[in-house]
């Protein structure tokens, strides 16, 4: 299995954060020797954290420049043996499917890091200790670990390695939401909610999914045919995704005995799909998202919505579609149906929300529904639209959560009805929120629209006639989306100035440093989406060709 | 009627029985020793009887000698113990000297 470019770049990208973690530990270790004060340690760990994320971004730019969008094979491959006796290899590579996600991760983590550093701007936290001042070294270490986990998940080409990174990604999230999230509170319906509750719910929910995925992983491993490790030694089973994909396509899995009377590939498909759809989140498994967002600190919400939801979609793309093409053909209508339900259900529920972050969370459910619909359509427009929607949502939802964070840092409440007439007081903030809302509701000319229109276009042209009904059902949701965003806009920003908020002050440089680049990206992607399409289109259309052409 | 082996066996059996009875019922340590001596005598008697009436060889009598020697040695040591017992407990009544009970 030879690849055009063998290079260490990807390994560097994945493990630069770990170097950062090492540095922070070094600082902590040397603290007594150098008699550092707590403030000094905090500042140092923030600096290291920032440096690490900036480094990853720079490497990401290097990856972007060197990536050849025209080829469908893996690039920047780094392939060595990890555990010989179980045929597990350290095999990372990036191709059209994951390149967009790796770059998105690098940049969004940078934005999130800037947001979690209390410099460059006034921070009013007399009576509410701001999360970025609490236990900073721990926060930074977990943050960087999370980055490594996510980058690894996107680059892993070995199923076992993928699963390891999948879990590594999960753990820091639990602590980040639990410790730095909102303090526990009891809801009117008597249930204790808050940081810890949300963290547990998130962790257990995703873990349940990944357990099912683990079963599928093992089943596949033991039913995979003979393969070669990187040093050429013959093995009877393999985790290597490239081999597994070939086996999947050549129908090796069809010859395996059915389980509970269902064909083996179908069972595997469903198991993997369950694991990933919880993360997407798809309709019935989405209830962890609002809780996790409401109680997570702003940067963590940014990462959760910006990146982590995409790992689920990426998983479906890489494992369900690429590895089991025939079963995908069988399952496509089902996925599309759930996608549409997510879209419409998410949109309607948003209309009834009072908490700004919960509203954005449910809108994420709705927007990720688009990705599912686009992917299930199995047309070039559909799948390109779906991947672009992942990228655009990855830019827009961080912007939305940062905006929610800005108002929360000042007013310490997220209740939409509590505000009113902010436009007068915070003109710059209103402008940016307007742009973010317009982008999210899919105003043409901004990033959100491209994804939506391509998904609808693809959906309408799908080979399965009832996809048209899915699109016809999903299009009105776009109106509802416009409805709840404008209603929020109207309740918060327009109308008479609520004098309770007269003390608010406009954006500071930290917030501008994160929001303006994202706004620029949204506008740029809206008018000139070519950079993303050049990266992903060839591989995606090849994948769709295999799935549709294959049958 | 000839005095055969059974006759001697019955006699040694009775001796054995009395010795055993003494050992079992007497509370006085010395009486117990007496019982033991009776038992030993019964045994040696059998030896000699068999030697004379059954094998006709001297093997039995040699062992009888050994038996007597043993009985003597045993009696000596036993009595020394009894004396020590007496010295320690001022009494040789086995029912009182039960310190090793538990």
């Amino acid at each position: 299995m030879d690849y055009p470019t063998n290079s260490m770049l990807l390994t560097w990208i994945i493990f630069t954060p770990v170097v950062g973690i090492g540095a922070i530990f070094a600082v902590l270790a040397l603290r007594p020797a150098l008699k550092l004060s707590q403030r000094a340690v905090d500042q140092a760990s923030r600096a290291i954290g920032l440096a690490a994320t900036v480094a990853v971004s720079l490497l990401g730019v290097q990856l972007w420049r060197a990536f050849d969008g025209g080829s469908t094979s893996l690039q920047f491959v780094h392939h060595t043996i990890w555990m010989r006796q179980w045929n597990i290899e350290y095999f990372v590579g990036v191709d059209g499917l994951s390149i967009s996600m790796v770059l998105l991760t690098a940049f969004v983590f940078l934005a999130a890091m800037i947001a979690s550093v209390p410099w460059w701007g006034r921070l009013d936290d007399e009576h509410h200790p701001h999360f970025s001042k609490k236990r900073v070294p721990g926060y930074m270490i977990l943050f960087l670990l999370l980055e490594t986990g996510v980058l690894g998940t996107f680059c892993a080409q070995d199923f076992f390695l993928f699963y390891v990174f999948w879990e590594v990604m999960l753990l820091p999230m639990y602590f980040l939401i639990g410790i730095w999230g909102a303090p526990p509170r009891t809801d009117p319906d008597g249930r204790v909610r808050g940081g810890p509750y949300a963290a547990i719910k998130f962790f257990l929910y995703t873990l349940a999914g990944s357990v099912v995925m683990l079963l599928a992983l093992i089943a596949i491993y033991y039913n995979s045919g003979p393969a070669r490790l990187v040093d050429g030694s013959l093995t009877d089973h393999t985790f290597n995704l490239v081999y597994l994909t070939e086996m999947g396509r050549s129908g090796a899995f069809d010859r395996v005995a059915p389980i509970f009377g269902m064909a083996f590939p179908k069972v595997i498909f469903i198991a993997l799909f369950l694991g990933f759809s919880i993360k997407v989140p798809m309709f019935p498994f989405h209830t962890w998202l609002p809780d996790a967002h409401v109680d997570a600190p702003t940067p963590i919400s940014v990462i959760l919505a910006g990146i982590l939801l995409k790992t689920g979609m990426y998983g479906i793309l890489r494992f369900n579609l690429q590895m089991l093409p025939d079963t995908t053909w069988w399952a496509a209508p089902g996925i599309a149906l759930f996608g549409v339900i997510s879209i419409v259900y998410g949109a309607f529920v948003c209309l009834a929300q009072k908490d700004l972050k919960k509203l954005i969370a449910y809108s994420s459910v709705s927007h990720m529904g688009f990705c599912l619909l686009g992917m299930a359509a199995l047309t070039p427009q559909g799948i390109s639209g779906s991947v672009f929607q992942m990228v655009s949502h990855g830019v827009i939802s961080p912007m939305l959560f940062l905006i929610a964070g800005v108002i929360y840092d000042r007013a310490h409440t997220r209740d939409i009805n509590g505000f009113g007439g902010l436009a007068g007081k915070l003109p710059e903030y209103t402008g940016l929120t307007g742009l973010a809302f317009m982008a999210s509701l899919g105003l043409p000319g901004l990033a959100g629209f491209i994804g939506e229109v391509l998904v609808f276009m693809g959906g309408f042209g799908a080979s399965d006639p009832n996809f048209r009904w899915f699109v016809v059902a999903a299009v009105p949701a776009v109106v509802i989306t416009a409805g709840y965003y404008l209603w929020t806009m109207q309740r918060m920003f327009l109308g008479k100035m609520n004098d309770k908020w007269s003390h608010l002050w406009d954006m500071n440089w930290r917030e501008r440093l994160t929001l303006y680049p994202l706004a620029a990206a949204t506008i740029l992607l809206g008018f000139w989406p070519a950079p993303v399409f050049n990266l992903v289109n060839t591989s995606l259309h090849h994948l769709v060709g295999v799935i549709t052409g294959g049958t | 009627m000839t005095i055969g082996v059974p006759h001697y066996l019955i006699v040694s059996g009775i001796l054995l029985a009395c010795g055993l009875f003494t050992v079992v019922t007497r509370r006085n340590a010395v009486a117990i020793l007496m019982g033991i001596e009776l038992i030993l005598n019964a045994a040696i008697l059998n030896l000699v009887a068999f030697s004379r009436l059954v094998t006709g060889a001297v093997g039995g009598q040699v062992f009888a000698l050994f038996g007597i020697v043993l009985a003597a040695a045993e009696a000596v040591v036993a009595l020394a113990i009894v004396l020590q017992l007496y010295r320690a407990f001022r009494s040789v009544d086995t029912t009182e000297t039960t310190e090793l009970k538990e």
């Binding site: - | 009775i14 009395c18 010395v30 000699v48 006709g56 040699v62 020697v69 040695a73 113990i81 029912t95």
Partner: protein, 202 residues
Amino acid sequence: MTTSLAGAVVFYALAALAVAGAAWVAFARNIVHSAFALLATFFGVAGLYAFLSADLVAVIQLLVYVGGILILILFAVMLTSRISEVKVSNRSAGFGLGLLVLLGTIGVMAAVALRVPWGKAPPATPEPMAPGVGDALLGPYVLPFEVVSVLLLAALIGAVTLARGRKRIAASGTPGAAAPDPVPERKTKDEERKTPDGEVQP
């Protein structure tokens, strides 16, 4: 070989002597009496040896048992019971159970003796057995002979150390032997039951 009537009478007399002595030892109330009854038993047995023409054994029996062991027992009796109580009570315990054991043993022994077909030895002439035994002692049985001698030595040393008492042992490790630690004054059961005014409750 059929023994003459006189022989039979002698046998039965000796047997009766031995058995009566044994019975007396078993049932005597006074320990001194039982000691002397033991003497009778020994004599009876010695006679039987003689009757069996095992002359060496009979003589040694008399020497060792009567001369040695009986005397020792008497010594022990005298030493361990206080002169003040002439009548040395010889309580017995579990009399009934003892009888049961007695009868049981007699029954079993008799049954075995009578039922088992003992072999017949060729009629040998009643010549003195001593030289045969002597040869046997230093002939085939020289190893047990030596072992027995070692045993006697062990018994000798044992008796001496035991009799010497604790002083010798205690003094061996530490110079200036302390007085032998006094034997803890201990009331006998009777004393315990003596009421302060000397009455002995039952």
